[in-house]
Symmetry: C2
Subunit: 216 residues, 2 copies
């Protein structure tokens, strides 16, 4: 399994982990502009996070800023990319190759962040045996067998909500280790399975509500 | 502009707003199973939220549960769908019709949640003038003109990170009201513009990190 070996043993607070990709996005931008050094104060101005918080967050990484000069941009890009696991390769299956699932299979951006989608799964006979973005779609009944074959560790869950828990149970018994849940359903898993909920449709409700509030 | 008229004047706490789509997903499931009533205790068992919290959350809606019987499922589906704005139509542009942008244009699921993507925009001459999922892709330079034409209010931002702020400025001056930011960049907007960040790639870092922690 390809997990980042550079990850330190200490546990990083989740809010820090959520901020690191913001810093990475910004310092990648600086790198493209051939800027060599950046201070936490400069990052702070762009990102809207306190400079002291940024310095604290970055102290979890294997990098030190220089007084009055700041961090070396290329080192910061490298350390953040490594730390966030974007350089490692993680093998993933898409479970539910309908609209959103098929869309994710076609998003080549994911592979730039370390995620290799190698197969899709569905129960629809019209989808089974076809390809999306060059990636084969198999029968859901073959999940355990294909997991052995591909060694996938991450399942991207994009089935209709009424099948979310049932599909989750199949994923868990097939031996996958993490579920990236794109359904709005609160799936239940054993303690040793990692879950990340990304309910993009639920975010729409937040947008609509805020728009409505601004119009009052 | 199509904003939900049923939205109450009082401000709902954001954590409540984030939980409502979970309840909706579950009660839709019950509706499909022809179940007529559900109590907050039953929802609690499925969703892993305190029953008293659920009752409190649902008290923001125009619906009352009956003692010992609970909420009428069909009413709950209707009220939640209305309240969350999923029944209204919101017109959206995709800004940046690359990999993720094109994927979102092909996700018909979004229209089920009230979002109509009517056009995509890009600066790449190879993309301008083509269609993705039947939706036209226009030159980014036409954004203001097309906004007038379509009356779009929501911009889905899926440009490369180095163009995120620049594209945001164009979106704001074209008169759109909300930006659904799929880039990991912390864009800056005037106070009257709604922002929702959905950095799906950043969620990958959370998954990798938790997987690594579970393996220790």
């Amino acid at each position: 399994m390809s997990v980042n070996k550079n990850m330190p043993k200490m546990t990083m607070p989740e809010p820090t982990l959520r901020r690191l990709p913001w810093y990475l996005a910004y310092v990648r931008l600086l790198e493209r502009r051939n800027i060599e050094y950046v201070s936490s104060t400069q990052i702070s101005k762009e990102i809207n996070v306190d400079a002291s918080q940024i310095a604290k967050d970055l102290s979890f990484l294997n990098i030190k800023g220089k007084t009055r000069i700041g961090y070396e941009v290329s080192m910061l890009v490298k350390e953040l990319t490594d730390f966030l696991g974007f350089k490692s390769r993680h093998t993933a299956f898409v479970i539910g190759a309908g609209s959103l699932g098929a869309a994710l299979m076609q998003d080549s951006g994911l592979s730039q962040y370390g995620l290799n989608i190698v197969a899709g799964f569905d129960v629809d006979p019209k989808l089974i045996g076809t390809h999306v973005g060059g990636i084969p779609i198999y029968d859901m009944a073959q999940l355990a067998q294909r997991q052995q074959e591909y060694g996938a560790t991450i399942a991207i869950l994009s089935v209709p909500v009424e099948h979310a828990q049932e599909a989750t149970n199949v994923i868990v018994s097939a031996g996958l280790k993490a579920i990236w849940n794109f359904t709005p359903f609160r799936i239940k898993v054993p303690d040793d399975i990692v879950i990340q909920n990304t309910s993009i449709y639920a975010h729409l409700a937040l947008i609509y509500n805020r728009m409505s509030a601004k119009m009052k």
